[in-house]
Symmetry: C2
Subunit: 378 residues, 2 copies
Amino acid sequence: MFAVQQNDSSTPARTGLLSTAHGHIETPVFMPVGSLGTVKGIDPDELQACGYGLILGNAYHLYLRPGHSLIAGQGGLHKFMQWPGAILTDSGGFQMVSLADLCRITEDGVGFKSHLDGSWHQLTPEFCMEIQVALGSDIMMMLDHCPPYPSTEFQAQEAVERTTRWAKRCLAVPRQEHQFLFGIIQGGVYPHLRQEAAAQLLELGFDGYALGGLSLGEEKETMFRVIQDVTAQLPLDRPRYLMGVGLPEDIVEGVCRGVDMFDCVIPTRHGRTGWLFTSSGRVLIKKAQYARDEAPIDSACECPVCRRYSRAYLRHLFVSNEMLGIRLNTLHNLWYYGTLMAKIRRAIRNGQLQEFRTQFYQAREGHEQGLEQDPMCA
Amino acid sequence: MFAVQQNDSSTPARTGLLSTAHGHIETPVFMPVGSLGTVKGIDPDELQACGYGLILGNAYHLYLRPGHSLIAGQGGLHKFMQWPGAILTDSGGFQMVSLADLCRITEDGVGFKSHLDGSWHQLTPEFCMEIQVALGSDIMMMLDHCPPYPSTEFQAQEAVERTTRWAKRCLAVPRQEHQFLFGIIQGGVYPHLRQEAAAQLLELGFDGYALGGLSLGEEKETMFRVIQDVTAQLPLDRPRYLMGVGLPEDIVEGVCRGVDMFDCVIPTRHGRTGWLFTSSGRVLIKKAQYARDEAPIDSACECPVCRRYSRAYLRHLFVSNEMLGIRLNTLHNLWYYGTLMAKIRRAIRNGQLQEFRTQFYQAREGHEQGLEQDPMCA
């Protein structure tokens, strides 16, 4: 399923090839989030044009709406949403905790009140697998117990132990032949718990290993330390997936610590809120300074938005709440992330990752000021 | 500017060619509405793929946001929105009356409170021309006095007389060399007032003539009678434009009464509210009956949406408030309207307009039931 292609000489970074029934994906890879069977506002052709071959779906969302059985009856999620590439489905454990009106975790599984209509649902590890089998995703995620941040050592330990017990139950569920299953390593910010969690899941054996419970509010340095420690413990021949991360700089740092896969709502959600990524930092398009700016978002960007539209037009669309603005912003950000990953892979292949990393930060120097108001990236 | 190409033998319908600085447009033509410098959610390539070469902008909206001077500074509306085709700008007289919080019409012009921030504005006929000159549209509309429906004969007469006086003032304003100016015929549902209005504008001489003040709540038969009477009075060598109309059946009937140009928010707004047009009538996509429907919106449709997506997926997107659903619905409806116009033109050219009209209605028989809840087309 996964083959490392090139190891970086100075860091644990590597390039690899992830082979699925819906295409081969070069890693390190970023996966756009399409929780409800659509990457918000963007169609499959546009996703492919941005360089994506693997996107995310979400078992929690699709179970609630339109229902996994309905999607199975339509030939599975790929066909339903007409996505020719590969799909990784998150189990939705995180969404049950963060989105549901009420959530109760027991040994059996997660009980929660739907954020849509208040109805009560119970998702066991087995049912969570069943949903993802019905969806037919290429990579399934086990149901994990993701404790909030901050958590006490005791809470974190409890979550690790429960996650391991759930991991066994998930592994016992039959999957479609093409489906891989990833384990999720919890343990909060406690090194020995992360180590314990990884060791237990490694013993069970998964197709890939994910780092869960990060980017929840802990210090960046803490997150990077956890990533570094955990990936060092993981087998070289299995993909490592850092869940829910992150900003471009987080991805660069994650890659340099041996991560192969990333997903995050940032490029899409930031597009909707008018934050645009460029090689020299972020642009908040609603600012008055762009009202008459004839330049593209990023002169160095070759995306369909930058090739055609001015900042002035994009600002007008955004302040007028025009849907096309949100769509174009999102498309630009997805292109930025797709291009960033391609550059990272090229740098690793050429043995120039450190040069890339230095240039990446140099290009942003002095540009990221005054962006403290960014609600998502403070 | 306009040349009739083929006259229908049994009705006043005709095909023609409208020649602008931004392309030649075959008539009868439907113009999608892009009030704020964007057809909501749809990009220029998609508009062209649907067969459109002429779209609408709105002086009222663009004056308020982002401002006509700003757009002029950006090289005009075409460049600002990156639309390679032609643009007709409405003067916004109708929007001032229908959208503004408060509106006071005097001989000088229209005073109104912005629907955006309550600020007070005064648009004279001259200023309205100035805005459209700054926008650089290919076809400008005079500022008219559009009385509400119903209006008394006295009110309608007053509006006609004022419109004629404003017409003179509009004609006196210098335009860019490529800009055409259309007069707007008012007169409500009163035949002698419509006749008087048309005669007065014809004497002044415009590049084209629009029928304003229709589709405001009057009976369909009344509207068709007015259209028929007025077009019979208009010169054969000038385009006739029926403003703000309408449903597919209204367009078919308008063409059969000699109308060359139409505009309406229906395909776009209906797309956003989940009403989809098909050859056999309208589909309300949110209905439960489509939850597992693997068929496209319209099996006979060759649009990018029908070629790819099922009703089940579109229903899921719509009930989940997903932006892609609104975008795809809108794209389908715009394709439907574009294709409808192409079929109408072909029928006229082939001398088969009556056959087309008969088939058009036959295909919908029995299908338009149960759609009484459509808030826009009751």
